[in-house]
Structures are given as structure tokens and as C-alpha cells.
Symmetry: none
Subunit: 219 residues, 4 copies
Amino acid sequence: MVPHAKTARRKQARPSELVAAALDLFVEKGFAATRAEEVATRAGVSKGTLFLYFASKEDLFKAVVRENISGLYPEWSVELDNYTGSTAELLHYCMQAWWSRFGDTKASGISKLIMSEARNFPELASFYQQEVVEPGSALIRRILQRGVDRGEFHPIDMRYGVYVVLAPMMFLVTWKHSLGACLPAQTGIVPQEYLRFQIDTILRGLARPAAAPPKGSAP
Amino acid sequence: MVPHAKTARRKQARPSELVAAALDLFVEKGFAATRAEEVATRAGVSKGTLFLYFASKEDLFKAVVRENISGLYPEWSVELDNYTGSTAELLHYCMQAWWSRFGDTKASGISKLIMSEARNFPELASFYQQEVVEPGSALIRRILQRGVDRGEFHPIDMRYGVYVVLAPMMFLVTWKHSLGACLPAQTGIVPQEYLRFQIDTILRGLARPAAAPPKGSAP
Amino acid sequence: MVPHAKTARRKQARPSELVAAALDLFVEKGFAATRAEEVATRAGVSKGTLFLYFASKEDLFKAVVRENISGLYPEWSVELDNYTGSTAELLHYCMQAWWSRFGDTKASGISKLIMSEARNFPELASFYQQEVVEPGSALIRRILQRGVDRGEFHPIDMRYGVYVVLAPMMFLVTWKHSLGACLPAQTGIVPQEYLRFQIDTILRGLARPAAAPPKGSAP
Amino acid sequence: MVPHAKTARRKQARPSELVAAALDLFVEKGFAATRAEEVATRAGVSKGTLFLYFASKEDLFKAVVRENISGLYPEWSVELDNYTGSTAELLHYCMQAWWSRFGDTKASGISKLIMSEARNFPELASFYQQEVVEPGSALIRRILQRGVDRGEFHPIDMRYGVYVVLAPMMFLVTWKHSLGACLPAQTGIVPQEYLRFQIDTILRGLARPAAAPPKGSAP
DNA sequence: GATGAATGAGTGTTCATTCAT
DNA sequence: TATGAATGAACACTCATTCAT
């Protein structure tokens, strides 16, 4: 009844090993082009075993997303709540964190993959929309709202304000995994600099106009 | 023995007809999901004939990209040269033009296709880089430089300034052909509003700060 | 545009060849246990070719039924219309015809197969019900009704009358392809004798009681 | 070291529990469609344990058939000996009893199973032939002979007379577990009415013709 | 004995590509 | 040139069976 120690340890490890192998391959070759057996082999198990843990290839993909992306949000959410500095600094901080925890990581390949294959796997697309896009957008919205509420930003139409932040991030990731991957190394974008420039510009674009010239300026 | 005039004309047209059909289908369904026979049928020929003109489906893809990436640029270049209004207006104008002449067009599907398939077709990626990305970036750079030169924008690091404009455009196109195509109609982005918001923000971000009210300017 | 003679002849022949091979194998091994490739191989083509002519294995099965069973009904229907003898004779004749044209034929294996696999292929079951059982029942009903109308049979509840004829037929076929196929040859049923006995009994069971003692017998 | 009483009892019961579970499932879903694990689960053991007691699924099937084919016959045999009414009534009675004790029971699924799988398990087929078909036929033969002996039936060729009774029964059971299970509920046969009609007809078919009305019998 | 994790052969279906005509 | 019949490799998923624990 009680599983044996060795077996149990293996059984617990299997899903993560499979998810890790799947992440590698999905990012490297795309969802459709990755064969289930290849994932299994890379994880050191047989094809059958893969389906012991994941009901389908799509299920496996969902696990990859959950384990590599969705899981990032709670941490960010907490950090956001506890942040005490200016919203401008917060945005800078978040972008740096996003880059180091996600953009600069294999996981960002998933975002690009979704862009590529959404049309052919609508089920995955809507899963990703719910699991990643919406929470992510909500997080950005909270940052922007914080800026507005604290008088740092002027009022923002949130339907589109979110994209002011999101678009440069997604572009970077998409570029990195497509054209950027085909170009000679020095040709392209240096992500850190790219992001700094984008945020600086965005922040100026969102900032509340400087208060009317201070005291004494009027007669 | 001499080919019938009509037949001859047809024969010459074949490749273009096939490429046109392929463009439609690749944009509509993606590369992998488009079946060779479907392309042939839409072009009014048999499956065998397709392979008479293109050695493989990949070859056809390359032809599609090459034949459809072309000169929107000269027109824009001229317009840009002749423009007399403010650079802010110019940027608004260019974005509208870009959307109606490209973004809202089948051609934008090509950009998305390139993003999706770049890894599988590296030669195409660099071809696209040279033929599209670089001229396009140059155009944007000219606009920004114009703003700087006329004192409308503050100085800009052009290596990244370009992306401030480019990223929102590419994101829009990518989104439209991927997640945007899978979502219920009203859920998503309204491109015109999206673009207006982005440009307004960018412009504020790029704008030269209003001259500090000169001291003693008040009565 | 015009298919070449040899090719055309082949193309026309393919479906029948495949159906013939499928009949053999379905009867021999059952529907589920017959592999599509085996059918193709026996028909002398590749697996791919099979699916060129039949969209699925179930489709192939339907073709087998249509070509080997449904096609028998029109002939019977005509014979039935034109028959001038007594209904008892007609029933004898039909049974003999049924046996020689169907029961004693590989096609009868299909009926047994349906009995075996109906539960697992409900789609096939209802197809067979419509395509075979119902027309067959209608034919039997017509015979019985003829007997009633001509005063040869006493009135019959047709909901169950049909089964009086059908049950012995189906039993024979089922038995032949199951237990009967496993028994030493002489042990079993001799179909012709079996059928004769059944019909004789049934006919007595259905017959109108002999007319009241002929006229004049009474005072 | 000495096995716990309960455990021991359990161990002994295991095979029967497995066979019982298998009976349910084989009858419900057929042999091929029943998964070994499902049988094990229903019996409350693990998949591995199943194969501890039965070398293969086929072996399990054989055990199911063998364990469930058994003695309804002695009871009937006695009833038959003691019956004092007319043979027509006896036949009616036996049919009702057969339906309620067998046809309407899981056990009838076994007969259908045998029909379906006989070709794949010829030993089972002959086992079934000896254990079930032959004793059953003998019983029917006794009933018919009784009718003949008492002058209720006209002389019968027993080689085929038996089937006049048997065929409708087997057809009913086969139908019930195949097509009948796939049809909308009201479409099909109502067993009780079906049986009544069959027997009535059969009895008329077997009955000794009423003595010709003796001449001059009328006043 | 009992478990349940692991296996891997097996199969319907698709589709780019070939080639005889 | 053009056709379209034919091919066969590819692939996700299932499940009876094994075996280390």
C-alpha cells in the first residue's frame, strides 16, 4: 500500500523532469513539431510513461506554462503590494525582474511559441490567455493605477494603457526568439538597454505634467 | 507546335498564381497547417503541378515571402520628404498610413509568418531583416531625427528610439494574427484606438520638455 | 484532363478490390481486429491508398455492407412483386434464395460481425439497422402481409410476426460463424434441412385454419 | 508468519472476485473493450494482482465462461419431470422461466459473448457446446418428445425440431446484447411479447392437426 | 503475496512528394 | 507540360504485461 521509497521519489520527480524536457523542446522546435516520444526520451522515460502523467500533449503544454510562467505572478504580486518607492522606480524594478526571471529565460520561448501556434491550437491559446495574459495584464494595470492614484501619472485609459507597457516586452521576447536568433550576435538588441530606453520613454509619456511653476512664479 | 497564346500566358503566370494562393493560405492558416493540395486547388492547378514549379513546400514559402516584401517604402519616403507639418502630426499620419496600407492587410500576415517560422528558415529571416526591417527602421529613424532636428523631440539614442515606435506596431500585428484571432470578437484590441493611445504616449515621452517657464516671465 | 486509360481502369477497380479484401478480413477477424493496412495489402495497394478511397475504416465497412447486402434487396423486391404462386411457396423460395445469395456467402459473416461488435461501434450498428435490418424486415413484412391479404395466413401482429421468420435466419447465420465454425464438420446443422424444417413449422403456425368443412358437409 | 485469518480468506476469494468483476464488464462492454485495469479496480485489487491469478486477459475470459456456465439445468429437469399439464402450457412455462432466470440476467450476456468470441477461443466454444448447448438441447428435446408422445404434437424430426424452439431464444438474447443495446429504448423488441408470439406460432406449427371433423359429426 | 510504475508494440489517419501516363 | 493516383513515413495515444520493490 505504501509506495517504496525509491519508487516514490522517482514518481514524484517524473512530472518535473518531463515538464523540463518539454520546455526545452517546445521552445526549440515549437509545439506541433515536438514529438511526444522525444520529450519522453529526453526525460529518460518511455513514451508510455509520458502519458501516465499527462493525459495529452496539450496537457503537457499546460503544465509547462503553469510551472514556468503562472508561478511567477504570486511573487510579483506580493512585491508590488509591499513596494514603497515611486511608481517610476517600481516599473523599472518590475521590468528588470521580468527580464531576469522570465524574458532571459527559456520560459520566454513559450510566449513566442504561443504567438506562432495559437491559430492551430485555439485551446492552448485561450488557456494561455487566461493563465498568462490576463493575470499579467492585471499586474501591469495595478502598477499603472498605483501611479495614477498617487498622482504620479495622469489619468489613463486602462484598456490601452496596459499595452504601452506590454507591447515592448512582448516585442522583445518575440524578436529574441525569431529574427534575433538568426542574426549575428552583436547585430541586435541589447535587452537591458532596450528595456531601459523603453521605460524611460514610457514613463515620460505617462507622467503627470510637472506642477505649474512653483510658488512665487505668479505675481 | 507553337504554344497557344493563352496557354503560354498561363504557363508564365502559374508561379505567381501559386504564390498568390499560398500567401492567402499561409497567412490564414500558418505554414504547417496549409496543405500543398489546397494551394494548388486554389490556384486552379493540380497538386503535381505545384511541385513542378516549386521543389518543396518550403521553397514555396520562400517564394511567397520574397515576392510579397517590397516597396511600400518608396512612397513613404517621398511623403516623408514632402511633409511640412509638425513631427508629431507626421508620426500620427504615418501610423494611420501604416495601418491602412499594411497592418490591416494580408501583407501583415507575412510579418507574423516570419516571426513564427524564422527559426526554421534562417535565410528568409536574414532576407527579411535586410529587405524589410532595416529599411523600415531607417524610415522611422528619419522621422525621429526630424523631430530632434526641429527641436520637437529631445535627443534620442537612435539604436533604441526606433523600437519605441516599432515595438507597438509589431506587437499589434503579431497579436492580431495569433491570440487576437482566437478570442471572441469584442474581447480584443481596437487597432485604431490602440495606435492612437500608443502614439500619444510615445510622443509625450519623446517630446522636448516644454521650456521651463522663463523666470520672470510672468508680469 | 482526361485520365489515361490504364490509370482510369485501375482507379475504377480500386474501391471494389478494397471492399472485397475488407469483406474477407472483416468476416475472418472482425472489424476491430482487422488492420487497415492489412486490407490495403491484400488489395495490393498501400495503406495511404485505402484512405484515398474511403475516409475511414468505418466508411470502408459501410461500403462493404452496401456492396454485399443492401444491393440484394431490389432484386428480391421485384421477385416478390412478380410472384404469382402461393405465399407458402413464396416463403420457401425466398428462404432458398436468401441462403444461396447471402447466408451461404461470405457476406453473412457481416451480420454475425455486427452482432459481435455493435456495442463498440454504435455508429456502425445504427447504419446496419437502417441499411439492412429495416429493409429486410420490410421485405418479410410484405410477404406476411401478402399471405394475410390472400387469406392464406390468419391475421398477424406484424411487430412480432416478422421475427418469426427473421429469428431462425439470423440464428443460423450467427451459429454458422461462431459455434458452427468450431465444431467438427458433421456435428452441426445442415442449413438446407434446417431452413426447410423451420419454414414448414412456421407456415403451419401462420396458416389460416383449414376452412370449415366444405359446403354441403352440413345438413 | 501464519496468515491472518481474514487475509487468508481474502486470498482465496481473490480469483472469484476477479471473475465476478470480469463477468460484469465483459457482458457490459465486450471482451476487447474491457480493460484489465478496470476489472482489477472493480475487484478491489491492483492491476498487477490480476496477472498474479490469471496469466492473461484471455485466461481470465476462459475462467469467466467456465465459472458461470452451470446448473440451471437440474432445476428445470425436475420441473419438467413433475409437470402434469399440457405440453403447450409446459412450453409457455419454460420460456417464461428461461427468460426470468437466464435471458433477463447477466448470464445471458455470456451466451452472446460466446457467439462473439467463439472463433478466437475455440476450446471455449466446444466447452460451451458440451456444457450448455447439448444439455439445453436435450431439455428441449424432452419437451418436444413429451408433446409427441402424448399426441399433442405431430411427429418431429428432432435434429431440427429443437432449433424451432432454440433459435428464437438465442436470437432474442443476441439481439438484446447487440443491436438492441444501441437502439433508442422504445424502438425495439418487448421480450415478453416477442416470446409469447413466437411460442404461440411455434405451437400451432407443431400441433397435431385437429382431427378432421368426423364426417357426419354435424347434427 | 501485492503493488503500481514502467514499458513499447500496435494502429488509424494525414500529407508532402513522386512518377507513370 | 500537366495530371492525379499512389506512396509511406510520421505521430499521438492505448493498454496488456512485466518486474523491482
